[in-house]
């Protein structure tokens, strides 16, 4: 019984510690983004890695998500004779919910895992210690460009996801199932408001910060992770944890953001 309480206490202490570490890490990273000097090249490079290299997977998932929405939406709306609302149903689903969430999940899998592994390896091979010893702030040098790149990339990737999703829905709804082309776009123009786009934009910005924060900090503190974070196994374990935690956090934050923004 005592053993159970000891273990529970140890778990609780570990997670409180980790939450504190991650909180301070986020603050330091935000400070390093705001504080000069500002170097453009590292930001462009990270935007390429996080954003540009994710475009293909975003296009692919975006178009298929739109196609499924078109397919499901058409058959459901058809039951009520409301297939004319297909365009707005697809667009609203994508812009308000699916676009930001699915794009964030894709970026977590593709870029977030890479960020965590990269920083974890840097920690294990003493590269981060080397930076500190050279009086170079690791937050400024490594984390700041990634945060800025995440903030730039996520809204753009979400916009690409939304547009390709709408086109996917059009391909299935209009091209395959015979919904009216004019009605598809007209209902979209009529029902999608600026507030919907604003909600999607805010969500994608928050998810961008969330992904970079969780994945970077997990890699940065790999040596303090439970069960030991050294070696290839340690890095792979924290990378998995980072992807799982990021994905869960995206869904959790999505609910809270929707509650606040609706």
């Amino acid at each position: 019984m005592l053993n159970f309480f000891e273990k529970t206490g140890a778990y609780a202490l570990y997670y409180v510690n980790e939450a504190g570490r991650m909180g301070i890490f986020l603050l330091n990273s935000i400070m390093s983004v705001v504080k000069p000097p500002y170097k453009i090249y590292p930001i462009i490079r990270q935007t390429y890695i996080i954003g540009t290299l994710s475009i293909f997977v975003i296009l692919f998932t975006g178009v298929f998500t739109g196609m499924v929405l078109g397919l499901q939406g058409y058959h459901t709306l058809n039951k009520f004779g409301a297939e004319g609302l297909l365009g707005s149903a697809v667009a609203l689903s994508l812009i308000r919910e699916l676009g930001p969430v699915l794009a964030a999940l894709m970026v977590t899998g593709r870029a977030g895992s890479a960020i965590c592994a990269e920083i974890g390896v840097m920690r294990n091979s003493e590269q981060i210690d080397a930076l500190e010893c050279m009086a170079i702030d690791p937050h400024k040098y490594i984390m700041a460009p990634k945060f800025v790149a995440g903030i730039i990339s996520m809204p753009l990737l979400t916009a690409i996801f939304d547009v390709t999703g709408i086109l996917g829905g059009y391909m299935v709804g209009v091209g395959m199932l015979g919904a009216n082309r004019g009605t598809y776009f007209a209902s979209m123009y009529k029902d999608v408001e600026f507030n919907d786009i604003y909600m999607g934009l805010i969500k994608s910005l928050c998810f961008g910060i969330l992904i970079i924060w969780i994945c970077s900090s997990k890699g940065y503190f790999v040596h303090l992770s439970r069960g030991g974070g050294f070696g290839a196994e340690g890095v792979s374990r924290v990378t998995t944890n980072a992807v799982v935690l990021s994905s869960v956090s995206i869904l959790l934050f999505d609910f809270f953001l929707t509650s606040v923004l609706l």
């Binding site: 390896v121 840097m122 091979s125 003493e126 590269q127 210690d129 080397a130 500190e132 010893c133 050279m134 009086a135 170079i136 702030d137 040098y141």
Partner: protein, 268 residues
């Protein structure tokens, strides 16, 4: 001329969970001299360097660098003190995604406002000094272990720091490559006159480079006295004093052909 201690560790203690690694370390690093820290595996030699670099904070005690106790100072002040340091890590800690040139140029680009032309000149000089010229465009993975260490040393020296730390500089190298590292070290130390702190297993060879020797055993730096009391922080031992010491731990170390220390059965 009186020798000046640039680093002093006073009764430094550090524990990880229930394991106490450093149990009251007292150590002085003398300006312009080479201090070698020896001891068995897992005794905490690298911990001493990490404490001086401010990468680890002690549980108690003081680490005084250039008159400032760094065990309790702000990140900003610590960063300022670190501008005096250069470090050659055990595995060189080069950035894998950067070329040799970019690795060595990094401190110049991040910490100075030099033009690329000036940076190129300085980096080239350091690479020549280390006998690794012509590797500018190579990546660390394309270099041998010895070359990586020399590039690491070039990076450590590029801003002409006052103190350079060498964490196991010859680990993983064969005799020939180890000798190359020692040759480069002797040459640069003589030319530039920096203070050196070397953590090494390579005994007795490393003693040829040492001005002072400190033996870390059972979490303390062994003193010169017959009862093995801790060394006073202002009295480091020369290699000669070390070899003639009455301390039974040091005697045992010297007698076992001055090889790596495995004295687990002995009591301090």
């Amino acid at each position: 001329m009186k020798e000046k201690a640039v680093v002093q560790m006073v009764d430094v203690r550090k524990s990880y969970g229930s394991q106490e690694v450093l149990k009251g370390v007292n150590l002085s690093i003398i300006e312009g001299k080479t201090t070698v820290i020896v001891g068995g595996s897992g005794q905490g030699k690298s911990q001493i360097i990490k404490h001086i670099l401010g990468l680890i904070r002690p549980d108690s005690g003081s680490v005084i660098v250039y008159g400032r106790d760094i065990s309790n100072i702000s990140k900003k002040e610590l960063k300022k003190i670190r501008t005096n340091f250069g470090v050659l890590f055990q595995n060189a800690a080069l950035f894998d995604s950067m070329t040799v040139f970019d690795n060595v140029a990094l401190p110049l680009r991040e910490r100075t406002k030099m033009s690329e032309h000036e940076i190129k000149k300085i980096v080239s000089e350091k690479l020549v000094m280390m006998d690794v010229e012509g590797t500018n465009e190579k990546y660390p993975a394309q270099l041998s272990g010895g070359m990586r260490k020399r590039v690491g040393l070039a990076r450590a020296l590029v801003l002409d720091p006052k103190i350079i730390f060498f964490d196991e500089p010859t680990t993983g190298l064969d005799v020939k490559k180890s000798n190359e590292i020692y040759r480069v070290f002797s040459k640069t130390q003589k030319d530039l006159g920096y203070t050196a702190v070397i953590v090494s297993h390579d005994v007795p060879k490393i003693f040829n480079l040492a001005d002072y020797v400190a033996l870390l055993y059972n979490g303390v730096v062994q003193g010169r006295g017959p009862s093995g009391e801790n060394q006073l922080s202002d009295s480091p031992m020369t290699p000669e004093e070390f070899q003639l010491s009455d301390n039974p731990i040091i005697k045992e170390f010297v007698e076992t052909t001055m090889g790596p220390l495995y004295l687990s059965e002995m009591e301090v």
